[in-house]
């Protein structure tokens, strides 16, 4: 590493962490020098996020996993072990645990299909474009793609579905919080992303999910999502 990086490396030592976006440089330098080093070795060096931010990221990831695809047996088993408390959020979680205990991956997969896929379309269309304009592949998707580019988020190749799906958006929020796309996004960036791409429609979607005819397992998912959206909006308002 050249002279210009002495300060940077010292900075990393001082903070006890290597910023995620520097990992590719560190890995390439190690490779040139013949030092065995993998990405996993570096992940321990990422500065940890405060617990409240990890809680949020975990909520987004739980919703992302349940909405992008029906849960497999492993995820159902994990959900069955979740704790709860007497907050509104905790009670919604309790409801999810209860249905998870009654369900199996096959029944949930069928329900997921009826709700979101169907023949031609499912009962619900969980896309920002649809909720905001009445049609798929509309301006909200274009705006999202522009923001994804700015934030360094790339969609997985070979994927047919538009990125403004609620599952994808939840995963993006989790990544912005944890720094999966380079560095953790500031609250201002998170708020802007949330308000533009999620807050404007997702609360209504979760309400619809909670009320959907074919929702049994997904009813408490809707409730949990609705309550979490309210919590997020209130928290962003507090931090403004």
């Amino acid at each position: 590493m050249g002279h210009s990086h002495c300060t940077t490396v010292q900075g990393w030592k001082d903070r006890g962490a290597i910023p995620v976006k520097q990992h590719v440089h560190v890995l390439e330098a190690a490779q040139r020098l013949g030092i065995p080093l993998t990405r996993e070795d570096l992940l321990d060096e990422v500065a940890p996020r405060p617990p409240e931010e990890m809680w949020r990221a975990q909520c987004y990831m739980l919703l992302a996993r349940l909405l992008a695809a029906p849960p497999d047996d492993a995820l159902l088993a994990m959900i069955r072990e979740l704790g709860d408390d007497d907050t509104e959020f905790g009670q919604a979680l309790h409801g999810l645990v209860a249905v998870a205990r009654q369900a199996n991956s096959r029944t949930v997969r069928e329900e997921y299909h009826d709700l979101f896929i169907g023949v031609g379309r499912g009962e619900l269309l969980p896309y920002a474009s649809y909720y905001l304009t009445g049609f798929l592949h509309e301006k909200p998707l274009a705006v999202l793609r522009g923001d994804m580019q700015k934030l360094g988020i790339a969609a997985k190749e070979g994927v047919a579905e538009p990125e403004d799906h609620i599952g994808a958006l939840c995963e993006m929020m989790a990544g912005l919080i944890t720094g999966a796309f380079g560095e953790p996004a500031s609250l201002d960036v998170q708020r802007s992303f949330f308000e533009t791409h999620i807050g404007s429609w997702a609360p209504r979607f979760f309400q619809d999910l909670e009320a959907a005819q074919r929702a049994t397992f997904y009813m408490p998912v809707g409730r949990l999502g609705r309550i979490f959206m309210s919590i997020e909006m209130e928290a962003f308002a507090l931090a403004a």
């Binding site: 907050t87 979680l93 360094g152 790339a154 993006m172 796309f181 996004a185 919590i231």
Partner: protein, 68 residues
Amino acid sequence: MSEDKAPKSPTRREFFRKAGLGAGALAGAVAMGDAVASNEAKAAEAAPKSQGYRETDHVKRVYELARF
């Protein structure tokens, strides 16, 4: 994008704790790594795909221009 410089929020932590997020309900429940790995395995199914986000080539070029 640097770490958020807002007043280190005991308020924010307390808010989320009171809202029920910190009650251990989700503690350790959804490992990010597991989530991504599991979702990638599902990539072939009919469900909409949201997994496997990575740095765009544009971002990589910016980093390369800034290297030593």
